[in-house]
């Protein structure tokens, strides 16, 4: 398997809900007018608490300075796993499940904090730039490491620096953060960039005006209903995560939907904001899912983490994770 270290230098920022209006100009430009910026990596995720922005340095220039925006100090690099095709098993698990054992667990063992972003197309594992030597050292045994430089993919080798790296002790990872599962169901989808202008106003409405007048029937939703929407435009590919109600506002055939029309339920991780330093959170969730061979998407935001699992598996997932946390 190949591990690509992408060339984007990423910033992770949080915009408070109250401050969103001062950023809309920049965000609209990043999301819908990609040709006007040199940004290649943009992701916006709305949670009930805030908007989480992941953007490369070129795109970061489009955002204003404001007290409503808090930025994580570190610069992040995105890693991407490319499996070499090879023998195709019929039921390939998708999402973090596939890489849980090979990437996420080893990084957690080496106390490297990761920030996950699953999209329709692939999964990005964000690591701090300063952790890169350690990451390469950790993963070089399992992967062919390739680094993208000026659009060209070149092989890189582990620098052989082992000094000071402690041998990790393999401990069981109990789930330590509280979990919750909202009631609404989500759809992970995409659309043709050519059709983006035709649905731009709709997307803007979804992104920025969700806090406005509630849709009819929304009030009748139970308190478990969560506001969650993610849009990303990465290297020309668009990925959307939204709940089922929102998808129905789109015209037919605009959204890419899989043949089976699968829907996903969310597991929300964290009672307190998780911060960026704690490691092993993704591993705690993904390892039991991998063991059960349940596909999952995983989206980290500034404050909390979110895992998406197939709706039919939600009960077993919750069950498995609860067991794990109470076993502690």
């Amino acid at each position: 398997m190949e591990l690509h270290i992408l060339e984007h230098s990423l910033k992770v920022a949080s915009i408070e809900k109250e401050g969103i209006q001062i950023c809309t100009h920049g965000l609209i430009k990043l999301a819908f007018l990609a040709s006007k910026t040199r940004c290649k990596f943009f992701s916006l995720t709305e949670t009930p608490e805030d908007y989480t922005i992941i953007v490369d340095e070129e795109g970061f220039k489009e955002l204003p300075q404001s007290e409503h925006i808090s930025v994580a100090d570190a610069t992040w690099l995105a890693l991407n796993v490319v499996s070499g095709g090879g023998n195709a098993s019929n039921s390939q698990p998708i999402g973090v499940t596939k890489i849980a054992k090979s990437v996420i667990a080893p990084l957690a063992d080496h106390n490297i904090s990761v920030f996950m972003l699953s999209t329709y197309q692939t999964d990005f594992i964000l690591v701090r730039e300063r952790d890169l030597p350690m990451v390469m050292h950790t993963l070089s045994s399992e992967f062919t490491l390739l680094r993208v430089v000026n659009g060209e993919t070149v092989a890189v080798h582990d620098l052989g620096v082992t000094n000071g790296f402690v041998k990790p002790k393999l401990v069981p990872r109990p789930i330590i953060h509280p979990l919750s599962s909202p009631s609404n169901m989500f759809c992970v989808t995409s659309l043709d960039p050519d059709t983006l202008p035709s649905v731009a106003t709709l997307l803007m409405d979804v992104m920025f005006y969700s806090g406005g007048p509630k849709e009819p029937g929304a009030s009748s939703e139970d308190s478990n209903h969560i506001r969650f929407f993610s849009f990303s435009l990465i290297e020309g590919y668009i990925s959307l995560v939204m709940d089922e109600q929102t998808t129905q506002r789109f015209p037919n055939n605009v959204l890419f939907t899989s043949a089976s029309g699968e829907l996903w339920k969310m597991v929300r991780i964290g009672g307190q904001p998780l911060g960026f330093d704690e490691c092993g959170i993704v591993a705690q969730i993904s390892e039991p899912l991998a063991t059960a061979d349940i596909p999952a998407y995983y989206i980290s935001t500034f404050k909390f983490d979110h895992a998406l699992v197939p709706e039919e598996n939600i009960q077993s997932v919750i069950g498995a994770l609860r067991t794990k946390s109470t076993a502690q």
């Binding site: 490319v82 499996s83 070499g84 095709g85 090879g86 023998n87 195709a88 390939q92 998708i94 999402g95 596939k98 329709y120 197309q121 692939t122 999964d123 993919t153 759809c187 989808t189 995409s190 659309l191 043709d192 050519d194 059709t195 202008p197 035709s198 590919y237 998808t247 037919n252 055939n253 605009v254 959204l255 890419f256 939907t257 899989s258 043949a259 089976s260 029309g261 699968e262 829907l263």
Partner: protein, 872 residues
């Protein structure tokens, strides 16, 4: 819908129909402008053609790519790839016949929705439709659908799960299970089926070109490259593939797939379409974004496969089919070099034919060909009269005929060459007689004519030089013989003058200076006037009269000759006689120049023979001979020089008599060649010359080379070989060096090389017993490494050992054969090899082996190859 770029597809089976697809599909029919069906709706495409819109299909939104079903039935079935990855079968302008109805509306849905980039029908197994999709996680990006498959049972299982998409779908027409899934974890940007095997699919993947084999889907051949867009196979050359990346086109040879065999010059703007012309080999059309030109690359003369060293020849040119920017184009499938172009905006269409470059070629004979596209025109000069004769007169035609009649190759009777040339050109006749006499003289100098000094070169150097060297001239006064007049005419005699007369052909060999033989030969050829004149110049008036009488009485003779004879007989040397007065005035009215000069001679004062010498109708040889007899040492060189210069200026070959085969002669020949272009005569003539002088002249070499090229151009290979042999005999330096060598098995050096410093043809092998006397041959080991030479498979003696020394086959009659025929014995000593098994031996042994038992002929090599049998 914005941003959808138009594309054109020609119907694979209807040469007048095509589809334009942008946001919808439009079927058009193309026809001549102003035809009976001209309606308000027709759109002019060119001055001659217009298109009619037949049908529109806007059922399928978000089209990304379209492909036309390649088979006749159903006729107008299109596969449309959509932005969400679904492939829909649709139809245009069809009365819904049953075959089509079943298929139209069928949808092929990938597991995960993403853009469908490309579609390709299998050209042979037309049920197979390949779709290339964007990357989606670990999913496959190349899906091959079977359009005849019924909806799969799995589809019904999953049908209940289809909530988002099933609203507008009849689930029975949805197929979700592809026949093949290829290219996992990758994106596919372009696809085409390979024409050399319908099971092979070429795909432009994310960063590589891959060839998938449907017989073994786990294997793929691939090459890493950026040029992965628009893969397309050359329909005329199934191993040649074009693909592009941004502004650059790469041409691949599937037999040598590691890297592109060539890349075309990069364009500043990204390419949008690349297409091979289906009607013309090696023509590739390319279109870049925002451009109003189509760039064409002609690779017809590019060698395939292209070697590493050679710079490929590609002719690049641009055509501008219309003023506006071009959205797309499509070659017409059968009409030559024709395409329809659609503009980027407003769907303006243009019918356009790329005009083929014209190439023009003269044939080596008299015709002119020009070629344009598939047409070949043979041009002949238009029917004016005399064309035939003009062609006949053309020097190229004549040289060709002469080459066929072996002109120049008669080395024994050299003068006969003028007959081979047709025998009607007095200059050639003179030339070949000159050469004949020159060669005859040379032979005589060797044999009997003991001439002092280096006479041989004098003979070559022409009369001009001969008379200059003249010394010891004696003046003799000779009386008229056969006449009662006692007048003396002064004549000049010297050895050089005799030589000159011999070269003129007046007197024969030996010390004898009698012209009688010459006269008889002239009589035989019925040249009565000339014979009479020669007799007269030799002061034998009676013989002259006799000749004229003979001429008058001969068959078809001219009776007027008798009248002339009568006039001659009245000759008187009285200065003031009526005869003389009348003769000098009336002679000018005589038509025959020889008769004219006869009277001029008779009426001239001694030493003042301008009337004879300047009569240009008289052959040069006769005038020169005359001058040699009657002009003094002071007058003669002057006259000869003057005549020589005249001849040189005129390029008259008769002048060769004067110049000989010297530098002067080459000058003369040069002006002859300038005048006529007859390099053939020039080559043959100069080859006869003394090798040292003229053959080295670059002009002569140039004529010879040109003549050889000419023979090559006429494809007269045998004539060319004959000429080369002929040339080699006369000019040893022109012989090619040995081109075949025998090399040693051990050190690889030529075995003939080290023994003779200069490897010369036929020389090197003689020491190895391959030729020459058996007793001399001693060398049986390689001179380079001292290893023994191969052995004869029969007598087991080393190469180099003569065959007669060895016991051979032990057959007595064989031995007798060898002794009987010496020549055969020489050949028997040669070594020969089987090209298959490399066995061999003395040619004689090999011959007798084969003679031994014809039944086992074919067994021979197998027998030798047996390791138990001694071999080398």
């Amino acid at each position: 819908m914005s941003g959808s770029k138009p594309d054109i597809l020609w119907s694979p089976h209807h040469p007048d129909r095509y589809v334009i697809c942008d946001s919808e599909l439009g079927l058009y029919r193309i026809g001549p402008v102003g035809s009976a069906e001209t309606k308000a709706g027709t759109l002019p495409l060119s001055e001659e053609t217009a298109a009619t819109l037949l049908a529109i299909n806007s059922d399928t939104p978000y089209m990304k790519c379209v492909a036309w079903y390649p088979k006749h039935e159903p006729e107008c079935l299109l596969a449309v790839g959509q932005a969400n990855g679904r492939v829909v079968l649709t139809s245009l302008g069809q009365s819904h016949n049953s075959a089509c109805k079943e298929l139209v509306g069928k949808e092929f849905v990938p597991k995960h929705a993403r853009q469908c980039n490309t579609l390709a029908w299998n050209p042979v197994d037309s049920n197979l439709l390949a779709a290339g999709l964007d990357k989606h996680r670990a999913d496959f990006s190349v899906l091959i659908w079977d359009i005849s498959s019924k909806f799969s049972p799995e589809a019904s299982v999953t049908a209940e799960k289809i909530r988002l998409s099933s609203v507008d779908l009849d689930s029975s027409s949805v197929v979700t299970k592809p026949l093949y899934e290829l290219g996992q974890n990758d994106a596919c940007l372009s696809l085409c089926w390979l024409l050399r095997d319908p099971k092979l699919l070429l795909a432009g993947m994310h960063r590589n070109l891959a060839i998938f084999d449907l017989r073994n889907t786990s294997q793929k051949t691939f090459v890493n490259t950026k040029a992965i867009q628009g893969v397309t196979v050359d329909p005329h050359f199934h191993d040649r593939v074009a693909s592009f990346f941004e502004g650059q086109v790469a041409i691949w040879d599937l037999r040598k797939f590691e890297k592109p065999v060539l890349t075309l010059t990069e364009q500043p703007k990204p390419l949008t379409k690349v297409a091979w012309c289906p009607t013309r080999t090696g023509l590739l059309a390319t279109l870049t974004r925002d451009s109003n030109i189509i760039r064409l690359y002609d690779m017809q003369h590019t060698p395939t496969p292209i070697g590493d060293e050679t710079e490929p020849t590609i002719i690049e040119r641009s055509v501008q089919p219309c003023e506006s920017q071009i959205g797309s184009f499509a070659w017409h499938p059968s009409s030559q070099n024709r395409m329809v172009v659609v503009s980027a905006a407003n769907r303006v269409m243009t019918d356009f034919t790329v005009f083929e470059r014209i190439s023009l070629a003269w044939s080596s004979t008299t015709s002119l060909m020009w070629a344009c596209g598939r047409h070949l025109y043979d041009c002949v000069e238009d029917g004016a009269e005399g064309v035939e004769s003009a062609i006949e007169k053309d020097i190229a035609t004549r040289m060709r005929q002469r080459a066929q009649s072996r002109y120049g190759h008669d080395t024994v009777q050299v003068w006969r060459n003028h007959l081979l040339a047709g025998g009607n050109d007095p200059q050639l006749k003179s030339l070949w007689f000159d050469l004949f006499y020159i060669l005859l003289m040379i032979k005589l100098t060797d044999l009997e004519l003991k001439l002092p000094g280096n006479k041989q070169s004098v003979v070559y150097s022409g009369i001009k030089n001969i008379v200059k060297s003249s010394s010891g001239t004696t003046e003799s006064r000779k009386c008229w013989s056969g006449s009662d007049r006692q007048t003396d005419v002064p004549r000049f005699l010297s050895e050089e003058r005799f030589l000159a007369l011999r070269l003129c052909g007046w007197i024969g060999r030996g010390p004898d200076i009698d012209v009688e033989i010459f006269l008889r030969s002239l009589e035989q050829e019925r040249e009565w006037e000339r014979a009479a004149a020669v007799a007269l110049f030799n002061l034998d008036i009676r013989r002259a009269i006799q000749i004229l009488n003979k001429g008058a009485t001969a068959e078809k003779g001219d009776l007027n000759l008798n009248v002339v004879a009568m006039a001659l007989s009245g000759y008187t040397d009285e200065k003031s006689s009526l005869w003389r007065e009348m003769c000098s005035s009336l002679r000018l009215q005589l038509k025959n120049p020889y008769l004219c000069v006869m009277f001029a001679f008779l009426t001239s004062e001694p030493g003042a023979y301008d009337g004879v010498l300047n009569e240009s109708s008289v052959a040069v040889r006769d005038r020169v001979a005359f001058a040699c007899m009657f002009l003094s040492d002071a007058q003669l060189p002057r006259y000869i020089d003057k005549l020589t210069n005249e001849m040189k200026d005129a390029g008259n070959l008769e002048g060769i008599l004067l110049t000989g085969l010297t530098k002067d002669g080459v000058d003369l020949m040069e002006s002859y060649v300038d005048r006529t272009g007859d390099v053939q005569t020039a080559s043959f003539c100069m080859l006869k010359g003394s090798p040292g002088d003229v053959l080295k002249d670059p002009r002569v070499q140039c004529w010879i080379e040109n003549y050889r090229n000419l023979l090559d151009a006429w494809r007269f290979w045998h004539k060319r070989a004959e000429f080369d042999i002929h040339r080699g005999k006369l000019d040893a330096s022109s012989k090619p060096l040995a081109q075949v060598f025998v090399s040693c098995n051990f050190c690889g050096k030529s075995i003939s090389y080290s023994c003779s410093a200069m490897p010369h043809q036929g020389r090197g092998f003689s020491q190895y017993g391959v030729s020459g006397s058996p007793t001399k041959s001693k060398v049986t080991s390689c001179p380079g490494c001292r290893k023994p030479l191969p052995r004869c498979a029969l007598c087991l003696m080393n190469m180099g050992t003569p065959v007669s020394n060895c016991p051979g086959t032990g057959k007595s009659d064989e031995k007798m054969d060898l002794t009987r025929e010496n020549k055969l014995a020489q050949f028997n000593n040669w070594f020969t090899w089987c090209h298959n098994c490399r066995h061999g031996g003395h040619a004689g042994h090999m011959l007798s082996w084969f003679r031994w038992d014809t039944q086992e002929k074919l067994q021979m090599c197998r027998y030798f190859c047996n390791p138990l049998v001694q071999c080398f």
